[in-house]
Symmetry: C2
Subunit: 375 residues, 2 copies
Amino acid sequence: VAEVWIAGAGMTRFGKRVESLPDLMAEAARAALAEAGVERPSVIVVAAMNPEEFTGEGNYGSLVGTHLGFSRVPAIRVETATSSGVAAVYAGFAALAAGLHRSVLVVGGEKMTHVPTPRVSEIIGRSIDPHERTYGTTMPALAGLVTRAAMHRRGLTLREISQVAVKNHAHGARNPYAHFQQEVTLEAVMESRLVADPLRLFHCCPISDGAAALVLVAEPAPVRIAGIGQGADSIAVRYRADLTSFPATQAAAKAAYAMAGFGPERVEVAELHDAFAPFELISLEDLGLVPSGKAGRATLDGETALDGRLPVNPSGGLKARGHPLAATGIAQIVELCWQLRGMATGRQVSARVGLAQSIGGLATNNWVTLLEARR
Amino acid sequence: VAEVWIAGAGMTRFGKRVESLPDLMAEAARAALAEAGVERPSVIVVAAMNPEEFTGEGNYGSLVGTHLGFSRVPAIRVETATSSGVAAVYAGFAALAAGLHRSVLVVGGEKMTHVPTPRVSEIIGRSIDPHERTYGTTMPALAGLVTRAAMHRRGLTLREISQVAVKNHAHGARNPYAHFQQEVTLEAVMESRLVADPLRLFHCCPISDGAAALVLVAEPAPVRIAGIGQGADSIAVRYRADLTSFPATQAAAKAAYAMAGFGPERVEVAELHDAFAPFELISLEDLGLVPSGKAGRATLDGETALDGRLPVNPSGGLKARGHPLAATGIAQIVELCWQLRGMATGRQVSARVGLAQSIGGLATNNWVTLLEARR
């Protein structure tokens, strides 16, 4: 596979934003293009999970291309539910590696905070198996089920799970792009209101607006995409053999490590999909970053904190940076670019290799991306 | 660019179907996989323009993968409005040409006939520039505008435009997969009820259900994708210099011809996006298949009929085969595969090179694909 590099990275602050989604995407895209020194990309890949229902607008590739002033630049939209951002990175990666294009603008985002929460839940719920949805299942309800199973079978404790939120809020407090920029105590997390037993409000990521963008090129640039892989699993959760790990993450990791030619031992910083706090612990083990059964303990011991052995979610993660769906997978990679290049002011770690993991739906469409700083 | 081949092609009959969209996609996919002799593709690319609003279901890559019995096969969804099917072909092409996969199942479809027509119009209307939509613009209204301009500036006549519908219905009458399998007279077309002046009902494609699928591989197979290209134009029609040709088609054709290493002179059969009958005439000239200003005359003279110099829409086109949005771009390629392989019983033409053109939105996202039979 031909080499693909990241020449520019940009994102908006995540949170409750008054700007339109095209404006948010333009802000992120302009930052990435400026850093890359690319005036006009040869193709645009847009990620938005469901702009039609969130904003009433469609044909989003053309809409965003026109809004950016690139109405004659070909644009496509890519979607894999909540991991759509990385799917767009992958489509751009493939176009470059195939020699079809010279530079790709990848931009993803979502605008959600203007929509009433029950309607947001309904729209996101379209990612759930239709039969299971007839029982009133929501994404937090499924996450609660996974959490209960993980507590029962893998011995995860609520204290360990809650510490993920405490850590990620501490990181987010140092990130000017984060939705939440304040710390929370373990007590505050454990006493916040119940959302879906045993998950409480502070175990769950917020509803956010925002956008993120990358410029990919075929010539050497500061960061290389060393590996990228996708894994899949049944959309019907009832058909899964086990709820306490995500085979889609394991398969994505295997593919990404194989492409990169190295394994988890070289990863020095990671951005993981902590839409629900326990997912960070499950993912740490699925990715081989922490031995099986040790993620909770490692988190309590501070191994995954900014100053730990393996900083996880230095951005604040989905929990504190926020989760504007299709922006998230790209924002994880933006954060890693900044970390690998020494540009993550206030939350800088020391790393040359980073890993991003993104979860689509209830782990039906997962992606792992490995980034390496240019030598 | 590495070579990409089509090893299998399949589609459902288009029309008013009672089956679910996943069932329709499965029918098309199984036919394509069986022909290709591929038991399990290494990746799935799904095209659906707006399954969330048409069917209430999302996460469509995972949904379709699971429904096909391939829940562990990575799947992504690609969208470029009404040309989404070809965008999925392109994504699959890129994945193969980049060496990322060995076999790709591309499957696209739409289920629309169960939705009340005004709601269908609203959903499709999301492809229109939001500002222009505030004036009540619909896709047929914009097409009417284009048609009036083409009649005024390029001298197209209603008789020429109507003959496109007559020809394509005559072709559809020979295609067992077509939505409409009966001929219509010129009088019936010209006297059908007005939809958007000067377009009448029989100038417009129907609302259809259906799905189509291809299996792409990197090893030689019966048909090669010799070229594929995308062109774009402003989603805001008010910013276009001219309404009587589509720069997005011209750009897509230029890219596809460049990749193929040959031009329109080698094209022996074409499937064009006649969502509105005049678009076939505009497209013939945009693609260089007929000299500028001659498409209407050529059509009246029978040049584009099944037994003409250059058969156009032997399938019946969008007009008669039908237009289940994201199925259409793939179905055009399925028809060309059958034509190039001598499998188009009842409507077979003699051709080794075929061209498919697909229009997304009001010509904001157009694609041209060139196919060549294996020597």
